[in-house]
Symmetry: C2
Subunit: 372 residues, 2 copies
Amino acid sequence: MAADREDTLAVQTLAVDLGDRAYPIHIGPGLIDRPESYRPYIRGRQVAIVTNTVVGPLYLERVRAAIGSDHVIDCIELPDGEAHKTLAQWAHILDILLARRHSRSTTLIALGGGVVGDLTGFAAASFQRGVDFLQVPTTLLAQVDSSVGGKTGVNHPLGKNMIGAFYQPRAVIADTSVFATLPPREYRAGLAEVVKYGIIRDASFFDWLEQAAPQLVARDSATLMQAVRRSCAIKAEVVAADEREADLRAILNFGHTFGHALETLSGYGTLLHGEAVAIGMVQAADLSVRQGLLDRDAAGRLKALLTTLGLPVAAPALPQAAVLEAMGADKKAVNGRLRLILATGIGNVFATEDIDGESLQHTLAAGSRLCC
Amino acid sequence: MAADREDTLAVQTLAVDLGDRAYPIHIGPGLIDRPESYRPYIRGRQVAIVTNTVVGPLYLERVRAAIGSDHVIDCIELPDGEAHKTLAQWAHILDILLARRHSRSTTLIALGGGVVGDLTGFAAASFQRGVDFLQVPTTLLAQVDSSVGGKTGVNHPLGKNMIGAFYQPRAVIADTSVFATLPPREYRAGLAEVVKYGIIRDASFFDWLEQAAPQLVARDSATLMQAVRRSCAIKAEVVAADEREADLRAILNFGHTFGHALETLSGYGTLLHGEAVAIGMVQAADLSVRQGLLDRDAAGRLKALLTTLGLPVAAPALPQAAVLEAMGADKKAVNGRLRLILATGIGNVFATEDIDGESLQHTLAAGSRLCC
């Protein structure tokens, strides 16, 4: 880490180009403590900060201090973890907003990781048919993935993210100082999505990640800022081209159909989302090789980079029928047929329903020998 | 009624101009039974028809037959009435869609009045972050009001329509034959919203309504079709200019802040929504007269037309403090201040926070002597 260098890193701003739903992503160290991070985006006097019991003690008072006492600030602390990304927690946020008489001009602030962001975003989307919200993502995964693109929602016992909305924040405040406080496993899980941006769309970013891997592992500030900026830029570019996932946006799901099945069957929370995505990307690469789309070297590079970054690349032993079932039940299933994102090279992936069943079975049976 | 003339009435189509969310409203007799009412708007094989226990027995099989057996059609029958416009019923729809494995390319069809439309629309908005839906409104109120404009949602114990989304249907199928089956009280309640369109934006439509009142009371088909078409056109025009109720769209709430308070305090269901709006419009006109904005003759014409159409124009006796509280708790309250739509003439209303407290108290105390 290089905390002493942080002050010299300038804040960078990316624009997510979505017409009248356009918004900026501000990236840099120390943003959480700056009043100007929030104030341009708060219309009324009322603010509700939604966070969880882990992030709240670290950052809540700092956010409150930065917003300032001329606002009426309510704080809502949710239990931590994917298991709580439920309709019940979402309804709890709405109950509090109503009990505290928040009006249509209130602003919600999501302070936390992806779960807090998804819940708060869906609450903002549905409270009085839509109020403003800001994302203040405090994990690497949330900064590069869930805070960009407007996907909000909750899980249902019958599937992940089955209930929700496309709803854009007014701004994303990505403070790159927060990584210092992340537990190692959660930090590494976030790197999986960073790698994903290279493989789906940017070979030169992938090359850079291979070279920068030691600095990423060491959480070097300047390297991380560049990784976050480039990841957000790629995601913003894809989302701007296809906000509602008609076509192109589906490539962001590379590794996710496999990954969701692993998450579901292992029980939410056993594997972190990023860990499941890491394994899922290696499975997708393995299947791409088996279907003759991707050369083995490229698949090997993906597996090697993830390994260097400390991520799992072997699938846990699970009943194959159950995995297939879980993949078919995934919302990416189109009219009941399985649709996957496969790779043709580093930086090139595409959505297809042309899946070879036998190859898929081999991939699912490969366990720790994926891409070998 | 003039059922024999129905076949000679051509179907009319209005466009709601909302850019990439634009959609048509088809208006005419017999549309429910025509395959071409639905099929251009159904993308996948799966369809879910949401209706209630009153409307279902009348129309469900006819809709199913028109869509045809090459689709997989699930039917969801909800209990009837505003008391069931709840998160629980909304979640029930989502549970069934998931249990029956509906995919993102499913189409929901709202077959019923405003409650079914609002619930189904919000379910469509939030199922897998948004799927297609069609509105098939079977009440006059739903045809001229709730099916146009994209407001969807449910009530909360702390307020009406507090949870929901702006979400547009793919099309609205307004079959003007359905009025024959409406109970008299429900039919009359729908006329209140028709009158509203005249008073808020179209003096010549208001003049026409005064002349056409006897035919409207008699449910004459040609007269009704014209009333529905003009009402939808006015609403579509206002919504196209201001989809998310930033400013202009608020005029559609004329009489509604008063009306919602009456509904809430009488207990949902005691007064029909249209009845509460009728009284609320007379209260708004009364307050407009007291504040020197509207001449007494215009207010008298409004009250007389509503009376001719069989609608209530006297406020029930309710504790004034409770009414004020209910009005202030309404979601149209801006930053805690009361915002009302007041009239300056037939066809001219505006939103204002410049409310004279004493005049408002007189209006609320006026009971049956409003606008006199």
